[in-house]
């Protein structure tokens, strides 16, 4: 069913999780459509958007699932973690409670996501430095001790948003190809080959330039 504008070598499912209001939906709209809104509606259930990037000569299509942040929705949203190869766990650098809850979100992932999911901790709203309630040191120490990568972003002034998505996608790619090599397989390195992880045979032509290389 792939059309000419929709060719890719790899399709990665990535989930966006974290407390309500930390800016997940805006990070997503910034990355996929370069849009930001101060008055975006809360996410109810799940939504998704996609964007393709190039990474080491391959086209990677990210299918990013944005989830509702409120606790009450977890029963619904956690069902969508399955098959995800990456997770951006977002907190708001001006809201300490959103950082304190990161622990609980990690547990959610542990309970409902695939064991080898790549997780990146994202401290959003870095444009609000004067309101900063979670220091970069604290967050980065936490990330390190939990084996997560870490980045601070601002969906508002568009700093590090591109980098955050690119770095998790390329990390997934690298880990995946490494594992695939270890297994001696070249075709499929997805944790499980559900319909959300589609690995197309690398096409030599017809690829369109989607984005700059990562």
């Amino acid at each position: 069913m792939a059309r000419s504008d929709d060719e890719y070598d790899y399709l990665f499912k990535v989930v966006l999780i974290g407390d309500a209001g930390v800016g997940k939906s805006n990070l997503l709209s910034r990355f996929t459509r370069n849009e930001f809104s101060l008055e975006s509606k809360s996410t109810i259930g799940v939504e998704f958007a996609t964007r393709s990037i190039q990474c080491e000569g391959k086209i990677i299509k990210a299918q990013i699932w944005d989830t509702a942040g409120q606790e009450r929705y977890r029963a619904i949203t956690s069902a969508y973690y399955r098959g995800a190869v990456g997770a951006l766990l977002v907190y708001d650098i001006t809201k300490k409670d959103s950082f304190d809850n990161v622990q609980r979100w990690l547990k959610e992932l542990k309970d409902h996501a695939d064991a080898n999911i790549v997780i990146m901790l994202v401290g959003n709203k870095s444009d609000l430095q004067h309101l900063k309630a979670v220091t970069t040191d604290d967050a980065s120490a936490f990330a390190e001790s939990n084996g997560l990568s870490f980045i601070e972003t601002s969906a508002l002034d568009n700093s590090n948003v591109e980098e955050a998505f690119r770095s998790i996608l390329s990390e997934i790619y690298r880990l995946g190809s490494k594992k695939a090599l270890e297994k001696g397989s070249t075709s499929n390195f997805a944790p499980n080959a559900t319909q959300t992880i589609v690995i197309n045979p690398p096409a030599d032509e017809g690829k369109t330039e989607k984005a700059k290389c990562c």
């Binding site: 309500a20 101060l38 008055e39 809360s42 998704f48 309101l131």
Partner: protein, 457 residues
């Protein structure tokens, strides 16, 4: 297959062209005829506009709606045959209605005024008129009686309003700590004062505060600070008094039609839309009175609404899951091809319809049409909890053709952002009458569809 057990004994839905086998001989034509007649009577009574669907369209899809050039005062002929030309007639009638200067709803407003002035309200008569949509001036009083917020006894209505408004004020004084706001401020402005993690009330308050500025972003009215404060108090007091569910995101959406309708009673604007665009309280002659009354009334009406759908918002949201299941069953029967396509593509109904239930379509339809839809929901006896699901089915099936050409990803993208921005009453009327029709057919039938739905209570 248990053809003799179920009324609609085809497990994969009623596919066009397939023979429907029924256990007991059921006269389809007469069921349908009856529902069409009823439908038509209903329509004539309220002089409404939309079409009567034929058997085929009730099973597959309602005709797709395309804007049609308006013809003023088209001579309307009742279609003698329900199987041909009905769509055309329906559209023409709609066009005629929308262009007619002697609006039929003007008489409906007159009638409603008379009804509301009677010592004991004839609720049934009010329901009938409300079903077809209310004039904006009638919404506030009619919604209040249909929700049971004010009594049918005319003599007691004003007293009740006074008492309820006072009770709400007392509840605010009891539950709503005005310092919550300043605490929230200090949390934001000075991180060192932050020390209140995990306190239930604060969690609720923070969640509500996060959602207030994101409520109906398109409507200026809900960005007026005083209106936002009212919203916040309503939600906070409701959450505090209903700990089984507490505040759940999306409830903020559900207050807005009430607040808008009740505020409009006091606004000196010429139409609905200009109130939605108001950027300050100057549209009210007496803003304090307007706000405090509308706030209290909205609180009680929200309470009445949520009372019917409490299980939408309790842990794991079972009420929503059941409705979505019911929706799937319904679509499987009225548009088997669509249902099969969605499932072949791996799209689970819950994925897109969760929000349709959780926010009662407020995210899928323009605000002024939501208010119109609520006229009908309130006129129905179980509008928000049951009729709504039929409306969801009709809405989905409206896009059946397009949807069947889409793959998983396009389906999700389309369904999370339905192209309804330019819709008018016309499209909504078609959807509501389609829903009515299906409810008439399926709601009365002892099918397992119905049983599945009722068993869940």
């Amino acid at each position: 297959m248990t053809d003799d057990k179920t009324l609609f004994g085809v497990s994969d839905g009623l596919l066009p062209g397939r023979v429907v086998r029924l256990g007991k001989p059921v006269d389809w034509a007469s069921i349908l005829k009856a529902s069409q007649d009823r439908e038509r009577r209903e329509k004539e009574k309220r002089d409404s506009s939309s079409s009567i669907s034929d058997l085929k369209s009730s099973q597959t899809s309602i005709p797709s709606i395309k804007p049609k050039s308006k013809k003023a005062n088209t001579v309307i002929e009742e279609s003698s045959s329900p199987t041909d030309g009905e769509t055309e007639t329906g559209k023409q009638r709609t066009a005629a209605r929308e262009n007619s200067s002697s609006s039929p709803s003007a008489t409906s407003s007159e009638k409603l005024k008379q009804l509301l002035a009677e010592p004991t309200l004839n609720t049934e008569a009010v329901r009938k008129l409300a079903w077809a949509g209310l004039e904006s001036e009638m919404r506030s009083p009619v919604w209040k009686v249909l929700l049971g917020y004010v009594p049918t006894n005319l003599a007691r209505r004003n007293d009740t309003l006074r008492r309820k408004r006072r009770e709400y004020q007392e509840a605010v004084n009891q539950h709503y700590d005005p310092y919550l706001d300043t605490k929230e401020q200090s949390v934001v402005t000075n991180s060192s004062t932050y020390n209140r993690i995990g306190n239930e009330e604060d969690v609720t308050f923070r969640q509500i505060s996060v959602d207030i500025p994101r409520t109906c972003p398109g409507q200026a009215l809900f960005h007026i600070p005083e209106v936002q404060q009212a919203l916040k108090r309503i939600l906070y007091v409701w959450a505090t008094r209903h700990p089984a569910s507490g505040y759940v995101q999306g409830m903020n959406d559900l207050v807005t039609p009430f607040l808008f309708v009740f505020l409009s009673e006091y606004a000196s604007v010429k139409d609905d839309l200009s109130l939605l665009k108001a950027t300050d309280l100057s549209v009210f002659d007496n803003a304090d009175e307007a706000l405090s009354n509308a706030e209290a009334d909205s609180y009680w009406c929200l309470t009445a609404l949520l009372n019917d759908i409490q299980d939408y918002y309790t842990f794991s949201q079972p009420g929503i899951q059941r409705r979505v299941h019911f929706l799937r069953e319904l679509v499987a029967r009225v548009d088997g091809n669509l249902c099969t396509h969605l499932e072949d593509e791996g799209l689970d109904f819950l994925q897109f319809a969760f929000r349709w239930m959780n926010c009662l379509l407020m995210r899928e339809l323009p605000f002024h049409l939501i208010v119109r839809v609520w006229d009908t929901y309130l006129a129905e006896t179980d509008g928000f909890a049951t009729f709504h699901v039929y409306v969801c089915a009709a809405l989905l099936v409206t896009f059946s053709e397009e949807l069947q050409d889409m793959d998983f990803q396009d389906l999700v993208m389309f369904l999370q952002n339905l192209p309804t921005e330019s819709w008018t009453n016309r499209e909504i009327d078609v959807i509501l009458s389609q829903a009515y029709m299906w409810r008439t057919i399926f709601g009365a039938a002892p099918s397992h569809l119905q049983q599945a739905f009722q068993a869940s209570y």
